[in-house]
């Protein structure tokens, strides 16, 4: 039971527990905080796989920017004080059963595939370092990189146009 395995299980349990608390929290602000905890656990997994650049970008972009934006919107609408009416008990049970069935089907389909013989390289590996990723990004994937800047521009313009008061 080496340290890597212990870390993996600890981070997995933290991620799954945080995800469950996101789904079952009554207060939306608590859901956002649990989702931030889930993102930290997933970034821990990235560091375990030595994907350092993605771990830092995950924290900065997802936990640091996107979740803060969610918190702004929730606070703007004063949702932290109101109680959300819940769906019918049978509808919620049907939703949980549907998700559980999907889980069972996917696990059953994938548990015997031949790829399960392989393993992922943890702790080491150079492709997660920012230098190697940067070389690939700016040589092979430079066109998607530039197009993503146009995507951001259009998203900014779209958000401003949608949110304008007429």
């Amino acid at each position: 039971m080496n340290v890597t395995l212990i870390l993996f299980w600890f981070l997995s349990v933290l991620a799954l527990f945080s995800a469950l608390m996101v789904v079952t929290s009554k207060n939306p602000v608590h859901s956002v905080l649990w989702l931030i905890a889930a993102f930290f656990a997933i970034s821990g997994h990235y560091i375990l796989l030595n994907a350092q650049f993605l771990a830092i970008v995950n924290i900065i972009v997802y936990a640091g920017a996107i979740m803060v934006l969610f918190l702004f919107v929730i606070m703007l609408m004063n949702l932290n004080k109101s109680v959300e009416p819940q769906k019918n008990k049978w509808l919620r049970l049907a939703g949980a059963v549907a998700g559980g069935c999907l889980l069972l089907v996917l696990v059953a389909a994938l548990k015997d595939s031949e790829v399960t013989q392989k393993s992922a390289l943890v702790n080491t590996g150079d492709i997660g370092l920012i230098k190697n990723l940067g070389k690939e990004l700016f040589s092979t994937y430079v066109v998607p990189f530039e197009i993503s800047s146009i995507l951001f521009l259009s998203a900014m313009v779209g958000a401003v146009v949608i949110g304008k008061k007429e």
């Binding site: 999907l102 392989k118 401003v160």
Partner: protein, 112 residues
């Protein structure tokens, strides 16, 4: 680390996200569960990229960049998720301004 562990962890996170989308009525919580699903997929992509890297290393090439496209795809998924969140939250704020509620059941009744 056997790739199985990452596959099942990612499947579990994805299905928890799906249960969240199906079960909640608040549009913002539904949006957050979509982000949870995206993160589950990101984790699986990074795990597979390291698996391909390990296979390429074992085949003898010491300076291979075999799995880097998996991690770059995760980078682009984060890019698209950031853009999508900004537009989606603008829509939700506009919706709230008109009907003072973010309840998706209420919006469902608007079609009648």
């Amino acid at each position: 680390m056997p790739i199985n562990n990452y596959i099942f962890l990612s499947i579990a996170l994805f299905c928890i996200g799906i249960v969240g989308v199906l079960t909640r009525r608040n549009a913002i919580i539904i949006f957050m569960c979509i982000e949870l699903m995206l993160n589950a997929v990101n984790l699986l992509l990074v795990a597979f990229s390291k698996m391909h890297y390990k296979v390429a290393l074992a085949a003898g090439d010491a300076t291979t960049t075999a799995g880097s496209d998996g991690q770059l795809f995760v980078f682009f998924i984060m890019v698209v998720a950031a853009a999508e969140v900004s537009v989606g939250l603008a829509i939700i704020v506009m919706m709230y301004r008109n009907i003072h509620s973010v309840d998706v059941n209420f919006l469902n009744r608007l079609k009648h």
